[in-house]
Amino acid sequence: MRITCPHCGERDRREFYYQGDAVALARPAPDAGAQAWDDYLHNRDNPAGDTQDLWFHEAGCGAWIVVTRNTVTHAVADTKLAAMVKR
């Protein structure tokens, strides 16, 4: 598996650390309520199809990257710097 880092270009998967669902980019407001916070902390979809993850270019430039990939075909559709994604 190869991931295209927006800074470094296409790199081997072993340079990256997998963090998990990109839900961390949609942090609820402090007063959003218990349900929203429960969802944010504990509940994740398990889609057959496109999903967004956060990957860390640990052995590269140190950027957090939002990777859109397909869990069925394993195709990576898009990569963006997390720093550039609107929160």
């Binding site: 470094c8 790199r11 072993r14 052995a59 590269g60 140190g62 950027a63």
Partner: protein, 155 residues
């Protein structure tokens, strides 16, 4: 394979939104601004090596007060120059990126891995590279490169 010693290595990490003014201030001090991602630049006085997202290593004494976080890392890095006709074949055994000359040209630099180590690699000549690693990994770096070179030579 020879050790490269730089008298000063300062890391410069511009504060949010201040990359351009930090680059301009740097240019005034040493004649070089902040290089593009994946690029290393130099003049007779100094060198600027891109070292990651919003991070550069500057081989010179610089002050960027209010513009960037600057940290003296002079003793933190071990740098080896590796040179010769088989240098790309040797590095190809250890590094997961394509360092051949048509792809990785003079002045190109990359943060990547050498074996299990995080390193910075810069092409400094047609058959020469500099590899930077954390100083605590210096012996491992030498060992890895030496073994790979011996294995290439034995083919």
């Amino acid at each position: 394979m020879t050790e490269v010693t730089l008298d000063r290595i300062m890391s410069a990490a511009p504060f949010a939104g201040l990359t351009k003014p930090a680059s301009a201030a740097l240019k005034e001090q040493i004649g070089l601004g902040l290089s593009a991602p994946g690029r290393a630049i130099s003049n007779r006085r100094a060198r600027v090596i891109w070292a990651g997202q919003r991070m550069w290593l500057v081989a010179a004494d610089v002050a960027l007060d209010g513009l960037a976080a600057v940290t003296d890392q002079s003793d933190a890095w071990a740098i080896l120059r590796i040179e010769g006709p088989g240098v790309v074949d040797v590095l190809a055994r250890l590094v997961p990126i394509d360092l051949r000359a048509d792809h990785f040209k003079g002045g190109h630099t990359a943060r990547t891995m050498l074996g299990h180590m995080s390193v910075g690699i810069t092409r400094v000549g047609a058959q020469a590279f500099e590899v930077m690693a954390m100083r605590s990994m210096a012996a491992t770096l030498v060992h890895e490169l030496q073994s790979a070179a011996e294995n290439v030579a034995a083919r």
